[in-house]
Assembly symmetry: C2
Homo-oligomer: 237 residues x 2
DNA sequence: GTGGGATTAATTGTCTGACATTTATGTAGG
DNA sequence: CCTACATAAATGTCAGACAATTAATCCCAC
């Protein structure tokens, strides 16, 4: 970050260079969501390269969901409205890759997850609505089924916490947290819960819903810490 | 995660489909970092498509920094070790796009940033080392220069908080937070600080370093809340 | 035998031109 | 008015060629 080279954009492939130019046009606002790029033929002429090279550049941008393409008479490449869903999917994918490919240990991952989530609970206590409580209670009910597989239990846990984060009413926060939690899910799926562990988690979930209903953020923070410790104990058995 | 469609991979372009197949091979562990993919000719034959189509698929993967390519006799496409730097760059880019292209207001962005950061300060208090304090003090010294432009002040502020997050000693956390903060930076750069605002921020920074040195996480949380309120006041003047 | 330069082979990067497919639009006929 | 067909524009795919890069190999002079 500190060594921000001013002009290091040589040595690159043409397709990468062209992709970068278009990318800058989008970032700078010269191209805005919905705009149609020139056709591949026009782009190839404008940049002095073949159509194949232009196509490779466009595929790079498409892979980052910066553009989408449509065939047919009114088709072409269009600048994408970077939806929260797109960004979420990308971040979650990024997080999953990073964690699985770098053998991040579950202690580190859990610590990060609970630390991030902890930061949201005061906002959640302030802005929560009844449907958030309903969702969380529904997940708790599901978690009480002793027949539930570890994986399903974990999925329900994720849904529970997602609702908690959504209660903060801040889309940027929901998006960041959801991506982080989903990235960690593969690791969490490797946990095996004894029934005693599950009971402890469920009790904490119930206490959290109560605290959320009463809008007591400080209590939620304490409960989050308990939950983190409980999860780490489960992981280290 | 719940609606994991089993076979929705029709209707797509060949290049996208092939990219997805290779991507799954990487995610599943069939291909690990450092492995060399078959040559473009071999891939085109194996998948029954032309080399141009294979190349478009590879460019998609390269755009996600899942692979890198090298020319020459021992060249080819190699599975990337997904470094924290790569993941960080991607997440930061994602965050920037999301925030700028969706006109997220600065209140929402600030709220999210400080909420996330707040979750880290207890860990930071626990794991901080002297060089973190040194870095933060150095940034404070820079911030005291009244000649500093608003943009430079903001950059120093980012560096200060980055050091704070790094002090938590958790790479996953550092990576998530740094990306979030950098994504918000374009918005923060639009703030104009009066000298009074700057003095207030600097005082809080100094108090934070003291609290961090004394390892008092609770005090750090309170200071973060003050800092958030101060920043929001600056934004809404 | 050894060092160094030329050769060679493998691979990605780029270009060209063609054809297939998709999709909106215009047009003629009922 | 509505349908069916032709048309045009754009992306998607293909085949083949050549350029550029790089490591390994060969060969020859010393």
């Amino acid at each position: 970050m500190s060594d921000n080279l001013p002009k290091p954009e040589k040595q690159k492939d043409l397709s990468a260079a062209i992709a970068e130019r278009i990318r800058q046009d989008i970032l700078s606002g010269a191209l805005v969501a919905g705009d149609r790029l020139p056709s591949e033929s026009e782009l190839s002429e404008a940049h002095g390269v073949s159509r194949a090279t232009v196509r490779e550049a466009l595929k790079r941008l498409a892979a980052q969901s910066l553009i989408r393409t449509k065939r047919g008479a009114t088709g072409g490449a269009f600048v994408n409205q970077q939806s929260f869903e797109d960004a979420y999917a990308q971040m979650a994918s990024s997080a999953t890759l990073l964690i699985t490919l770098n053998n991040v240990d579950i202690t580190t991952a859990c610590e990060a997850r609970f630390a991030l989530e902890r930061g949201c609970v005061r906002l959640a206590a302030k802005h929560r609505r009844d449907h958030h409580l309903d969702k969380m209670r529904a997940e708790i009910a599901r978690q009480k089924d002793p027949e539930l597989s570890d994986e399903a239990f974990c999925a329900s846990d994720v849904a529970f916490h997602r609702a908690l984060v959504d209660a903060a009413g801040n889309p940027v926060l929901s998006w960041q947290l959801a991506a982080a939690v989903e990235g960690i899910e593969p690791l969490m799926n490797m946990l095996t819960y004894r029934q005693r562990d599950r009971d402890a988690v469920i009790s904490l979930h119930e206490a959290m819903v109560e605290a959320l209903e009463a809008r007591v953020g400080a209590r939620l923070e304490i409960l989050m810490d308990y939950l983190r410790d409980q999860t780490l104990r489960t992981a280290l058995d």
